[in-house]
Amino acid sequence: MNNEAEPWFYNLEAGICEECDWGFLVPVSKFPDKCPHCFRKPLSLIGENAAELPILRPPELYLPFELTDSKLSQALEAFVQGIPFSPQDLATRNLFNRLERLYLPVWLVDCRIRATWQAEVGFDYEVVSHQDHFTGGKWISKQVNEVRIRWESRIGRLDRQYKNIQAAALEEHHYIIKVLGQYAWQNTQIYKSEIINTENIRLPNRSPEDAWSDAEAALRAKTAEECFTAASAEHIRGFNWQPEFLEPNWTLLLLPVLSSYYIDDTGSKIPLFIHGQTGRIAGTRIASMKKARTVSLTILLVSAGIFIAGLLLAALSATLPILLACAVLGIALALLLGLVSVIPVASVWWFNRNSQPVRV
């Protein structure tokens, strides 16, 4: 699993961000200036030795980053585009330059289960039905085969070893998966300290005891699936078991995530997360009201100028009647521009109102 000469955390230090409360194991050699999650405050060191953290268990598997720079740039470009009056700081280059790689933990449980179980298992079978049509004084009959399920009672005994059953190690795990999307597990690789120990690793905030309910539910679902497979059935319902969980062993699976941020009008850092495999970005997109107001004000000033000029021309038209037409045109244009000046502010207000806030 890890280098036998060194402990798995040999190159890592534990730190916590006092702003967002996210804890990390970070490489000693690349201790980040700011929290790799919120980018607001530097991390404070906790303890001398990562092994002393009661919640920590060694990683066993990890999913590698699969994004190339060009794919990443494309994803960032797509994120930046389509925002009317985007903040000055919200640029692909800025987001790219601020990228931080980090791994999010998921608990993996290995466990032997001895259990007795009972359930109703379902077997598919076909029945013949008919659909008839009457038209023009004749019946046309069509035979239709329908699949139905025959439920039968089964009981059994189980003694099996289960490996790498997943359970959330973070309180916000399900939310992150919801906003970033699922991970493809087929590329799971054995943890290698020489590769991983140069990255930031998020510390779990759920203990194995807290995560046990998730693990038990996953084990139950897995067992139920295996039981109906064992019974050569296609379905199962009313699964009930009396399990005995033996020799549970907890390790970690690490999920790749990239983080970055941009600065909005108020100077706040808006963090965003990027799925380490697909490039899907989760983060709030905010349009710049400041920029919009400036544009609106400029249009309004131009409109006011044209309006005043129109009034002057109208006054002069008393002596030179031909100027009256120019004056009317000018005033009409000024009124039109006055109306147009509302558009930038309104569009930004509308965009920000409809933009889904994503708090990663």
Partner: protein
Amino acid sequence: MVETFPPPGYIPVASAVDGIEVFMPAPAKTIPQPVSFEFKCPQCGATTFFSAIEGSLTCPNCGYQEELDKSRKGKLAQEFEFTPVTLERSALSQVEGRVDLACQACGALTSVPVTHLSHSCPFCGSNKVFQREALQDNLRPKYLIPFSITQKACADISITWMGSSWMTPRGLKDKSLLSDFTGIYLPFWTFDSVTNAAWKAEVGHDRTERYYQDGEWRTRTVTDWRWESGSVNVIIDDLIVAGTGKLSSRLVSQLIDFDLDDLVDYEPKYLAGLQAHLYDIPLEKAWENGRQQMREKTKSACLEQTSTPKVRNFSMDLDFASESWRYILLPIYLNTYRHASKSYTLMINGQSGEIAGQRPVDWNRIWLVIAVLLSPGVALGLLGIITLAVAGIGVAIGGIGFVMFIIGLAASLVILVQANKLDDI
């Protein structure tokens, strides 16, 4: 879960996953049934038979009675779905041919059709019931309605029925001719289904309109056709369809009003001394007949929804749902008698005593009655003609004669139609 595992009543089944054992409830023990059953009195050794009066196996010699399990299954009797395998196996079951049978009592060898479930040895009178092989368990008869009408009652019913029509010959009411009824369990299929139908049709609405033609106002009826549509759900429960084509379907259809609440589990003892036949119309063919009746019933229900009975361009889509079937034996008494060198069949519902059958017509009597009906009109008509010719006063008499002739003719026609109907069956 339980102290001992598996609990009693469970048997292991093959598991497709290592480390998981699977057990299923043990199927109900099937007691190996003998190929045939002989019915002998344990007291005196005489042949016993099922008695419709007692509802038990009875010895006519010493009066010994063996009670039968009469717990009624009724409409709760198990029903089965139409699986492709069942339909195929039902069609493959042997429905033709004969088997040789050696009587265990007297050793006589007789040939019996494969569709017969029971047999009485013609030499010694011993009763036998066979367990015929079926490709699938539910293609054996699993339920039956026992006979509750006796042969003696059948004779009375048939004599009363024969006497109920003056058109039949007098000699038919002879008791000896109508007492020879054979009790026979006939095979039937019962079908359940819910028919869901959506219909569409042009419905005619009549109205009267006035129009002007040839200088005067007239009225005429005009039909306005409007499209209407609707849907119906008809629940059809236990539609009985004959499983044999050996008897007149017209007669059988008049008798199938059985009360299925009396269904009991099939038991060979119910067949002792009676005849019983297996189906010769396979499930799929019978289901076709059943579906035909169901869709006509559903079509009628659709047509009842139209706002007027005048309908054209009627079309409907019908979806059969929750279809199920059952294979049962129903009790029927059969009597074939001869009259004037012709054979006639009588059938009596062995549960309700309802009768259906063929009755010969005494045509001499029919013609005599017709002659009697027509003669007053003819006589008065002739009298009218004569008196008109002689004294010039016969118009009224002739008129009355004509009216009476017409009435007589109409009555004669009705009698002829009824007699033909009676003779046709």
